[in-house]
């Protein structure tokens, strides 16, 4: 198994290196947290908010990093695989296609990493308020949590992707889901500044654990670790079960194109 995964990863890295320029632009295209950092640091200076201006700057810089680590696009690939019948060939291989997609994402992450580091360095050079040194413990735990968040997001999107066995545009489901992600994950603002009711509801959904949770840990903003990992894990189990069930049902349904 490890040998197969290693081979897949190497192939995917070679592929990604061909698209260096694109990967760089993708990294650049996620500038939203850096834009919002401007609005929110300014706000925290002028008004009374749950976080200080400096914490806001750190938070959004960490959101940027977490976003770089958790980009997922598997549904668009999978949908095309099913619609065009390419999935038939992938099923002939002695390994679940899940792994190939996962390795592709991992490879992209590895290719993107130097660009992301460069962008962060450049940004803090131009904009000194965002400079800070994270604690070693926070850094390690934060990166671990960011990877867990990536795995959950990947699993969720892969689960929706399996719907392409039944519907033609499964990506539409993901697009709707993405709107919730956009506003509840902490991407637009740390959940600390949300109204109490909205925050309590949001904490039960998987979204805050995809961005807010890892970013807060990285930034050294206190969060409830136990609750966080419990909810994150629970959603992981729910989607894993759902995913395997849909996969088995879907394979029976799938007849390939022209088959």
């Amino acid at each position: 198994m490890t040998r197969k995964l290693k081979a897949l990863l190497q192939a995917q890295i070679a592929l990604m290196l061909e698209y260096r320029a694109e990967v760089f632009l993708w990294a650049l295209a996620t500038a939203l947290p850096l834009i919002l950092m401007g609005v929110w640091t300014q706000a925290a200076e002028g008004g009374t908010f749950a976080l200080s201006s400096q914490e806001m700057a750190r938070y959004f810089l960490c959101v940027f990093v977490v976003r770089q680590l958790s980009v997922v696009w598997v549904i668009w690939e999978f949908e095309q695989d099913v619609v065009q019948g390419r999935l038939s060939f992938k099923l002939l291989r002695p390994i679940d296609p899940y792994w190939e997609h996962l390795m592709a994402h991992l490879a992209e992450r590895i290719t993107r990493f130097p660009f992301a580091v460069m962008l962060v360095a450049l940004f803090v050079l131009i904009y000194p308020p965002a400079r800070f040194a994270p604690e070693w413990g926070d850094l390690l735990l934060g990166i671990f949590t960011a990877l867990a968040a990536f795995m959950l997001r990947f699993l969720m999107q892969y689960t929706f992707a399996l719907l392409s066995f039944w519907i033609e545009r499964a990506a539409a489901v993901e697009e709707g889901w993405f709107i919730l992600y956009l506003f509840l994950s902490g991407l637009i603002a740390p959940l600390d500044v949300f109204p109490e009711v909205v925050r309590q509801i949001a904490f039960l959904t998987p979204f805050p654990y995809l961005v807010y949770f890892p970013a807060s840990i990285l930034a050294g903003i206190p969060v409830d670790l136990v609750q966080g990992f419990v909810v994150l894990g629970a959603w992981g189990v729910v989607f894993l079960v759902l995913n395997r069930w849909l996969w088995r049902r879907g394979l029976k349904q799938f007849s390939g194109m022209g088959a």
Binding site: L25, G38, Q42, A43, F49
Partner: protein
Amino acid sequence: MRHLRVLRQFWGSAIAAELEYRGNFFLATLSAIGLLVGSVFSLSLLYQGGYRPGGWRLEEALLVLGAFTALQGLAGTLFQPNLNRIVQQVQQGTLDFVLLKPVDSQFWLSTRMLSPWGLPDLLFGLGVWLYAGFRLGFGPLEHLAGLAFLGVAGFILYALWFILGTTSIWFVKVGNTTEVLRSLLEAGRYPIQAFPALYRLFFSFVVPVAFLTTVPAEAALGRASLNTLLVALGLMLVLFAFSRFFWRLALRSYTSASS
């Protein structure tokens, strides 16, 4: 006059083609509603404890958000589908056929496609604008001033998109560059005064986001100085002229796909 007739043909056929997929329109409307609710929510988060970003009242900031949403809709309806086509035509060499037509090639390439899926955004954006104007007690004169500069903003945005699209003659794959532009334009959700000084400089002079959403709102509120308005008009003319010059320049190095 001739151009108007051509335009009617273009859009008639484009809409007829897109209406084959009516289900998508429903989805587009749903997601536009979701995005709008989320946008208003994230804007309202800034208004805690009496804070006013950049001294803008909520209704005033809603004008900016309305302008942003409407422009996003315009880009989705007109700019994006056409730009995607330029890229496609350069790749496949079908640009030759467009160049042979007895219609100005820039006009053809900028208006050929029309995708109604951006219309919900356009309508909701204008709706938010009108609602905010109503709350602020706008008369016809204020609306006229505001919408006139929203029109100016539309042309500025068009020029930016077309200039980017033109680069596809040299680079072929520019899809990702437009993603970078789109992510920078997100700054237009907030009045420019809500940003720190460094951001204000960047979003006025490097990427002219301030002229897209803040200036139309200021024009309607009667707050914009004559200078600002003149700069906005000048910027439109310069960018528009440059887009034409740049297109001509690019065509000189166009060698078709096969030669």
